[in-house]
Amino acid sequence: MRRLSGVPAVWRALTPPVCRTVPWRALAAGGALGLLLAGMPRMVDGLNDDFYALNLLRAAALAFALSLAFLLDDPARHTTAAVPTPRPARQALRVALVAPVAALWWTAALLLVPAEVRPPTGDITLEAAATLVLTLAASATALRFAQEAEPGTAVAAGLLLTAALTMVLVPDRWAMFVYMKDEGWAASHDRWAMVLAMAVLVWGVCGPEPLRRRVRPVPSGA
């Protein structure tokens, strides 16, 4: 058996199979809905103002994030736990494959919104990035702390619930979804940056396989 020598060779060998495991159909569905939402200000007359444009872009980011919740699902995780390439590397490869697509998609979504009603590009991109990375961090956490091979469904449900509850419950002082002409806009984006940093950190911590694993029967949950 020929040994794969050097890191680039491993990546080359890994890329095609990992590429096949990326949930492209879910990403396509989420991306399509996102673009549909982002395109609404152009299509519906009544939505062509900056308030709707801002919230439509947020909804678009949420739609894409929901499909991203399935990215780290790995039906073979219990088998692949033993392979020499560690889990963070395999996850990083998946994310690297999707990242250009996501960047392209977000650019398209931003360009779909008419320039005169488009929210500040940097700030809204920060919100979208924080949402997407938070989703990945949640998936990684679910993989790290549960035996579930495909936690995507639960992560998606949790993400939706978080979004809805953040809208309804979070007091004005810590509001995340602020209108850009309100004074809390800058402060809320400090919080978004914090969420992004925390999500990256959590993802980093939860990436590796646990060295010891509590052995217990796989829960027969939904």
Partner: protein
């Protein structure tokens, strides 16, 4: 072999009943699981928390039940969305766990399993119905509650849970992918947050949404609301039933029975949809005009003490509360105002329905005070200002032109009886201040206070009430003379005279 063949017939004849028992058993099991799923539990917890937090001091303790029923509709949508996500995941569980092959050998056909999943939404619906009942009963039991609720409006919350649960099952059968329903929720969230905005909908299309809100805080008598609540409930029930039956049909039920039922449910939806789209009936429109223009023909009048109180029939229980305020104000007045007979009449502007908050114009009829349909909170000191200003200026129209020292007496008699008069002064002023000039709200025309008047009134309100009352009554004739200045009023009442002359800028 022949023995088995002979034994077979009774089993097949008994099968349908057993199979329906199995459907009910599966529905019970799935229903219990659904209620215990984390998203549903969390949504229910938030919903219950919201009910307590909201209803504790909603409507300032004086709810009109024809509005309180509508306030039960929005919050169940959170539960509805959680149920939609979770029921969808339960239907897809057998695919995710790859147990579909095992189910294929069981007696329960896919159509019946789908029916069981649809039925599993019922327990969650019942919980929401109970929550709605609790919220509405709580409002109805408040001592200040008036009016009547509509069952049609109360049904909207539970029916939307049923509808979204059915949608969750249908989507699982149409697009068996875990990502479909979460993506729909994003869309629905957006629709609900912004769907009720007038930008997206004109008069009849907005009734296609499950929850139809109103932009106005206007409180109208229940027969003038003009909301097709019963038709809308019928429409929602029909829609929920149609979606559920469609899911069962796609799930593989026998075409005949399910198809007929689906046709019936669709007919129900269409009937409800047409009924709710009919718009405002001519009778309601005419009744709205009558109530706005000639309220005296619609109202019942009650004598209390010296004064007469005329209110729409639903508001007559509130007369005693109004009479209490009038008595308080008159007990602080002097001269003829103390024994003045007043006519307190409830007036509304109902011609624009719930589309806009229209103001009620002031009357020039002497000694007539207007009271609105809302009560509690800021409405109490506002009515009190209305009473005091009519007692001193003579009629509501004259109040708007008042810009002299009488304002001091009006504000003091209006507010001094409150337990915290300075707080009442703050509440009754438009900008919530107790210094500087400001507009003062009243049931009809607003009044304006200058900075000097504010200063004098605040000093008076901070002093002991009885001492000031004695001075006010002794100097009543001078204090209520149209020529009195704020400086003179301050002198008469023994407080520091403010600098600057009276100058109204309202």
């Amino acid at each position: 072999m022949t023995a088995i063949m002979e034994a077979a017939p009774p089993v097949t004849s008994a099968q349908p009943r057993q199979s329906w028992a199995a459907v009910v058993a599966l529905a019970g099991f799935e229903g219990r699981r659904l209620l215990l799923r984390v998203p549903v539990l969390l949504a229910l917890a938030v919903y219950a928390f919201w009910i307590v937090w909201h209803t504790r001091d909603s409507f300032d303790g004086f709810p009109a039940l024809q509005d309180a029923d509508r306030s039960t509709q929005g919050a169940p949508l959170l539960v509805a969305l959680a149920v939609m996500v979770c029921v969808n995941q339960s239907v897809l569980r057998s695919r995710r766990r790859d147990t579909e092959r095992h189910f294929a050998v069981l007696v329960l056909q896919p159509g019946r399993r789908t029916a069981a999943h649809v039925l599993s939404v019922l327990p969650a619906t019942a919980v929401v119905a109970a929550c709605v009942a609790v919220q509405f009963t709580w409002e109805a039991l408040k001592p200040g509650a008036i009016g009547t609720g509509s069952p049609g409006e109360l049904l909207v919350g539970p029916l939307s849970v049923l509808l979204f649960g059915a949608i969750g099952v249908l989507v699982a059968r149409l697009a068996p992918s875990a990502v479909a329903v979460p993506l729909m929720v994003v869309f629905f969230l957006f629709l609900f947050v912004f769907g009720a905005s007038p930008a997206l909908s004109d008069d009849w299309t907005r009734w296609l949404y499950p929850v139809v809100g109103e932009s106005s805080a206007n409180i109208l008598p229940s027969d003038l609301l003009g909301r097709p609540a019963a038709w809308h409930a019928l429409y929602l029930a029909g829609l929920a039933l149609s979606v559920a039956l469609l899911a069962v049909l796609i799930g593989g039920a026998r075409k005949g029975v399910a198809g007929t039922a689906l046709a019936g449910a669709l007919a129900l939806t269409v009937v409800g949809g047409v009924g709710q789209a009919a718009g405002l009936s001519d009778e309601t429109a005419a009744a709205r005009v009558r109530a706005s223009v000639t309220p005296e023909k619609e109202q019942t009048c009650v004598e209390r003490g010296r004064s007469t109180y005329c209110a729409f029939p639903e508001w007559t229980p509130r007369v005693a509360t109004w009479a209490g305020v009038v008595d308080h104000v008159q007990s602080l007045s002097g001269g003829t105002a103390k024994g003045q007979q007043l006519l307190v009449r409830q007036r509304i502007e109902a011609r624009y329905g719930l589309d806009s908050d229209a103001a009620v114009f002031p009357l020039s009829t002497p000694h007539q005070v207007t009271v609105g349909t809302a009560w509690g909170g800021n409405r109490v000191p506002e009515f009190s200002v209305g009473v005091a200003s009519v007692l001193i200026a003579g009629n509501e129209k004259a109040v708007g032109e008042m810009c002299d020292g009488r304002m001091v007496t009006v504000m003091w008699t209006a507010l001094a009886w409150e337990s915290d008069p300075v707080a009442a002064l703050r509440r009754v002023r438009l900008d919530d201040s107790v210094t500087g000039s400001a507009t003062v709200l009243a049931p009809t025309e607003s009044l304006s206070m200058t900075a000097g008047q504010t200063e004098v009134v605040r000093q008076l309100l901070e002093q002991p009430r009885d001492a000031v009352a004695a001075k006010v009554k002794a100097r009543w004739a001078e204090l209520t003379d149209p020529k009195v200045t704020t400086g003179r009023a301050a002198q008469l009442l023994g407080v520091a005279v403010p600098k600057g002359a009276d100058k109204c800028d309202g």
